[in-house]
């Protein structure tokens, strides 16, 4: 009965929360179509002449034509965008592949140190990424290097060019490696809870039917934990896509990701608000597409389940 009529204050609170959540995005969207003059000039409100100039500036390095308002394309958004995609997709993929196998092993196999391993994954998750920054920066720059006179190092140097030894710092691999390490504990943890729910008798049935351990895993367990994989994928992709701190230290000019690019676009003398808003909007698109894609797996996975009626 009490649910029939809500306190007006409840609705007011809802509206306030919605405004707080959607407001900034809306503001960003509107401002991305304004000229800097309009944004800073305080001609607030919705009365302005929309322009795609900001988007043209942001995408200048991959546009097929040369926009009139820029003489020199200084912003390499396209390149950064591709870097972000490479790093986020590959690190997500690797995290899932390693994560689901590790989770399966932790749930189903008995081996020495299993409980310790399980607990450690969760504890590692609690370590803030910033703690990793300094040691990883040092290791990537100085330790994990291949001698440029060495066989493999020399080959890489010859093929890709550059100076000095071949180090992980400044490469896609270096960043991907850190992201995989950073996201793996959570993915293992979330997938464990999904694998526990797969009835053991299914795996036993598959074994009696003639499946080896890998066939049991790939043909029976993996299809059943698809919703978990999708959830983990969304989570991992989002983190890898948004990550700023580690990428800012470990990337170089050619491997920087979009978040780095956006921040770098703010100089001491000139903050190009319009372009920042436009890049922000562009930055938001891939995770949305990825989430829509992956969440469909979650829904079909949920309806396909139901082992017992």
């Amino acid at each position: 009965m009490e649910h029939d009529r809500q306190n007006p204050a409840f609705y007011a609170l809802l509206v306030a929360l919605i405004f707080m959540a959607v407001g900034p995005i809306f503001l960003m969207f509107v401002n991305s179509f304004k000229l800097d003059v309009d944004i800073i000039g305080g001609t607030s409100g919705l009365l302005f002449l929309p322009t795609i100039q900001n988007y043209e500036t942001a995408l200048c390095d991959i546009l097929w034509y040369e926009p009139d308002h820029i003489d020199f394309c200084s912003l390499k958004f396209g390149g950064a965008f591709i870097n972000s995609l490479i790093i986020a997709l590959i690190s997500t993929f690797l995290t899932l592949v390693i994560g689901c196998m590790a989770a399966y092993a932790l749930v189903r196999f008995r081996f020495m140190g299993r409980d310790t391993a399980s607990l450690t994954t969760l504890m590692v998750r609690m370590v803030p990424p910033a703690v990793l920054l300094v040691p990883v920066f040092g290791l990537w720059n100085n330790e994990f290097c291949l001698d440029r006179d060495g066989l493999i190092g020399g080959w890489i140097r010859d093929t890709f060019g550059g100076r000095g030894d071949v180090c992980l710092a400044g490469t896609h691999s270096g960043i991907i490696l850190v992201y995989v390490a950073m996201n793996l504990p959570f993915v293992i943890w979330i997938l464990q809870s999904f694998i526990v729910q797969v009835p053991r008798s299914l795996e036993e049935a598959a074994r009696v039917d003639g499946a080896g351990p890998f066939q049991v895993f790939f043909r029976v367990v993996l299809p059943l934990i698809k919703p978990g994989l999708a959830a983990a994928a969304i989570f991992t992709f989002r983190i890898a896509w948004n990550e700023y701190l580690l990428a800012s230290a470990l990337s170089d000019r050619n491997t920087k990701t979009v978040p780095i690019l956006i921040v770098n676009n703010m100089s001491e003398f000139n903050v190009e608000w319009g372009v920042i808003m436009a890049t922000g909007m562009l930055l938001a698109i891939p995770p949305i597409i990825f989430t829509l894609f992956a969440s469909r797996q979650i829904i079909t996975g949920m309806t396909a389940g139901a082992v017992k009626g």
Binding site: P199, S201, L202, E204, A205, A206, R207, V208, D209, G210, A211, G212, Q215, R219, V220, P223, L224, A304, G305, A306, V307, K308, G309
Partner: protein, 380 residues
């Protein structure tokens, strides 16, 4: 120990004895840590025999089956299939099919893919797989449901899919782990009958685990009653029913269960009597002859079906029972009665209303008298 049989075993030539059992369990032992749950199971199953392992929960019957399947490791002893030791083999290399209690259907595959899973793993030609799936589905009456997911099937249909999946494998040995226990009573009866029919047509070794003695009695060629990790008795159903080896088997098989009364064996002239609180029954001479000099404290066992209402029966072949509870179940009434301090269940095929507290006289069929040693609980 050096014997010729061991030499044959080592050389993997099979034993010298003719007509070898299909499956043989040799002193099978299972331990979980310090707890031993199976204490040396010796069992032989002949070609094409339907063996039912039956017993209360925790008696080790499922563990035994899972060890044969290869899903549980063997702590000690050995399992032989066609006289080859298999306890070190993976389940897939033992050539058997299994039906699980919760069906264990793959929820992400439709019925056809569930049935064909084993065949697809064997990489059989597609045409052959399709033909086999259709054939097996027709056998169990699933032809219309081939493209449904298990989630969209009823309990009985899922049960059939599980059967079909086992049948499709063409194994020589079928294992059933309480396959009917998830069904409701009516469906269970129906599926039990269907299993019986399937049994007539499929001449394979089948091992069936259940806690339901009716399933055991109706389906089995050989019943193995287990309790506490030991085999209590094995043999043909009627053998176990008529001549239970001990009090446990006697009480476990049959419904309603056998009545047990404490009694003393007393000789009176030539006749041996089993006397207790409120009764004195003559022991039939054939039974008395086998007893020898073991007079003393015994447990008298009488099945409800061996007690017939007969007001004119003589004192030494009858029990006087005072009705305490009457359960009318249609064709007959089940009466709980008191005989002295003990409680006795009888069946009464009568429409006559029974007054509680009434004392009725029941004649005991002479072959219905079972005597057990009160200490060892072994049949005398």
């Amino acid at each position: 120990m050096f014997t010729f049989e061991n030499v044959y075993k080592i050389m993997n030539l099979g034993s010298a004895v003719e007509s070898m059992p299909k499956i043989r369990l040799d002193k099978l032992i299972k331990r979980y840590g310090a707890v031993q749950v199976l204490h040396g199971i010796d069992l032989e199953m002949d070609e094409d025999e339907f063996t039912v392992l039956v017993g209360p929960s925790g008696c080790g019957k499922s563990t035994t089956l899972r060890m044969i399947a290869g899903l549980e490791s063997v702590s000690d002893g050995e399992i032989y299939i066609n006289d080859k030791p298999v306890s070190h083999l993976e389940p897939k290399d033992r050539g058997l099919a299994m039906v699980f209690q919760d069906y264990a259907l793959y929820p992400h595959m439709d019925v056809a893919r569930n049935i064909s899973f084993a065949l697809r793993l064997q990489k059989r030609p597609k045409a052959e797989i399709d033909a086999k799936v259709r054939e097996v589905a027709a056998t169990v009456g699933l032809s219309e449901f081939l493209h449904r997911k298990p989630g969209a099937l009823s309990g009985g249909q899922r049960q059939r899919v599980a059967m079909a999946r086992a049948l499709a494998k063409d194994s020589d040995i079928f294992l059933f782990d309480e396959p009917l226990s998830n069904l409701d009573a009516k469906l269970r009866g129906q599926m039990r009958a269907e299993l019986g029919v399937m049994r007539q047509n499929v001449h394979k070794n089948m091992i069936y685990v259940t806690h339901d003695q009716i399933e055991a009695m109706t389906l089995a060629d050989r019943i193995v009653v287990m309790h506490g990790g030991y085999i209590q008795q094995q043999g043909k159903p009627e053998e176990l029913f008529k001549r239970p080896a001990n009090k446990f088997v006697a009480g476990f098989l049959g419904s309603p269960p056998m009545n047990f009364l404490d009694a003393e064996l007393k000789s009176d002239g030539d006749q041996l009597f089993a006397a207790g609180d409120g009764f004195k029954l003559a022991v039939p001479s054939e039974l008395a002859a086998t007893l020898g000099e073991t007079a003393g404290a015994v447990t008298l066992g009488i099945r409800p079906s061996d007690l017939n209402y007969d007001p004119d029966a003589a004192d030494d072949v009858a029990l006087d029972l005072r009705v305490t509870v009457s359960e009318y179940i249609g064709a007959q009434s089940v009466l709980m009665c008191a005989c002295g301090g003990a409680s006795v269940t009888v069946e009464l095929k009568s429409e006559t209303p029974i007054a509680l507290g009434e004392t009725l006289r029941f004649a005991v069929r002479p072959e219905g008298i079972h005597l057990f040693d009160r200490k060892t609980e072994k049949a005398l």
